[in-house]
């Protein structure tokens, strides 16, 4: 992903607090193997919780295990992070937390549930391989969709879906 833009750096406050690296993986929810929406919701929230840990440590094993082999988005996310680590850059922060999660019944089946999420991302900064500050971002929010599917005896994230407000464009 492209680094942050460099505009208006002079106005940035130099007293920004240090961003701590996330080094502890989130606990594995017991409900990952629970049939039904309880399990699929747990899988989606676990995936979101794993994001910050993966981004900060470069350990993609857990997020890969939390997603299906066919999830191209999940593979891309993991490989993007691996590439960043191989380049020598390091990102701290950007922990994602779920502020709202709702099932989209209209596009869900018995073994595949689409969850719509409002996510809050903590501030983050990326240090380039040469030690220079490559980018720094404040807290942000995003609305995304994640599909959880029953896969080999447990729920895993299987797809990323863009959430588009169909009404705002026409209004």
């Amino acid at each position: 992903m492209a680094a942050a833009t460099a505009s208006a750096t002079a106005s940035a406050t130099p007293t920004a607090t240090a961003i701590e690296a996330i080094t502890t993986p989130p606990p594995v929810p017991a409900d990952l193997t629970t049939p039904g929406k309880v399990g699929s919701k747990a899988a989606v929230k676990y995936f979101v919780a794993l994001y910050g840990y993966t981004l900060n440590t470069g350990d993609t094993s857990l997020i890969r295990a939390a997603s299906t082999e066919t999830c191209t988005y999940c593979r891309s996310l993991a490989s993007d992070i691996e590439e960043e680590f191989e380049s020598g850059a390091r990102t701290t922060g950007d922990a994602a937390t779920v502020t709202l999660i709702r099932p989209h019944e209209g596009e869900s089946t018995v073994d595949s549930h689409l969850w719509l999420l409002e996510l809050a991302f903590a501030p983050n900064e990326t240090i380039a391989a040469d030690g220079s500050l490559d980018g720094r971002h404040g807290a942000r929010e995003a609305t995304v969709g994640l599909v959880a599917a029953w896969d080999e005896g447990r729920w895993r994230v299987a797809e990323y879906v863009d959430v588009v407000d169909s009404g705002s464009g026409a209004r």
């Binding site: 940035a12 039904g36 502020t99 099932p103 719509l116 971002h137 942000r140 863009d162």
Partner: protein
């Protein structure tokens, strides 16, 4: 788009570049919201340059993803399943509104019989600890193009106590009325016949069912979990209650010996325990009360094992 505020300037500058993608569209929507907040709190207080339109790797790693369109924000959108002939975002078929109290004043309309319940001694004041929930009325129409029907009374004005007790009561009622898909009943793996005088294995499952709904304006999640199974084997024998759903052979925890030839079906009454939690909570809370469902197996026949003495071939 107005660009009077600092954070909005950033969004406006990047808008033409990224507005072509739905992701950017959502980001920009968020950016506008952020800008309103930032204007009050001061963007620089956060200590970071505000780059509201930038993305995280979480969303940035999505390449040409599928898109789901919703009507409104996720927080407010109706995401439930719709009948096949009703498209998402289509015109509403039912609408409700707070009942106009002036309707009850002397006048020809005040005598509409259907509204007597709402107009007779209407509640107008509540104790300090309670709030007034106004009377509501609703109307409906057959299709999005047809005329609306007349307004009908829906609920009278009443004083309600805001807070958790109210919510718990509502959750209890909602769970009692929750539609639960009856448990499956499988006899001898569904092959349609069994033998008399031997164990016939019968089983169901213990899969919980969940329902995301709004109770008294609060988004909650209900979970129904089967805890007890009452088996009526259909042959006149005394029903048996178990605390496990049984399982396919070789599991024999639920089985029955039929003694007569015939055609039978097993009727299962499942008792469901309820749990609930406010959306976003991690822990489940128990619902006071239970729900039950009844299901019936496919019919099956019983057969007799006959032994034959066969003369060995020489």
């Amino acid at each position: 788009m107005k660009c009077a505020r600092l954070a909005l300037v950033v969004a406006c500058l990047v808008g033409p570049v990224v507005a072509g993608t739905p992701e950017a569209h959502a980001t920009l929507r968020r950016a506008v919201t952020d800008a309103a907040t930032t204007d009050q709190t001061g963007a620089k207080e956060k200590g970071y340059e505000e780059e509201v339109a930038s993305t995280t790797r979480f969303t940035g790693s999505a390449r040409d993803p599928r898109k789901v369109r919703i009507d409104g924000e996720v927080r407010t959108a109706d995401l439930s399943r719709r009948p096949a002939d009703q498209t998402a975002g289509g015109p509403p078929l039912v609408e409700t509104r707070a009942f106009d109290a002036r309707f009850c004043r002397p006048g020809p309309e005040a005598f509409a019989t259907a509204y007597i319940r709402l107009c007779l001694d209407p509640v107008t004041d509540c104790p300090d600890s309670q709030t007034l929930r106004p009377a509501r009325e609703s109307r409906s129409r057959q299709t999005g193009n047809s005329d609306w029907g007349t307004w009908q009374p829906l609920s009278p004005a009443e004083c309600v106590t805001p807070g958790e007790d109210d919510l718990i009561d509502n959750v209890r009622t909602t769970f009692a009325e929750m539609t639960i898909t009856p448990s499956p009943v499988t006899v001898i793996d569904g092959r349609g016949w069994t033998f008399v005088q031997i164990d016939t294995v019968i089983y169901s499952d213990n899969e919980p069912q969940t329902l995301a709904t709004t109770v008294g304006g609060t988004q909650v999640e209900l979970r129904a979990t089967p805890v007890e199974w009452r088996w009526d084997f259909g042959d006149g024998s005394k029903p048996v209650t178990t605390t496990t759903p049984g399982g396919p052979y070789p599991d024999r925890s639920v089985s029955h010996v039929y003694t007569r030839l015939g055609t039978y079906s097993v009727t299962l009454t499942t008792t469901w325990r309820g749990q609930w939690r406010v959306d976003g909570e991690a822990e489940w809370r128990d619902v006071d009360g239970q729900n039950s469902t009844t299901s019936t197996s496919e019919q099956f026949t019983t057969h007799e094992v006959r032994t034959h003495l066969v003369k060995p071939s020489s």
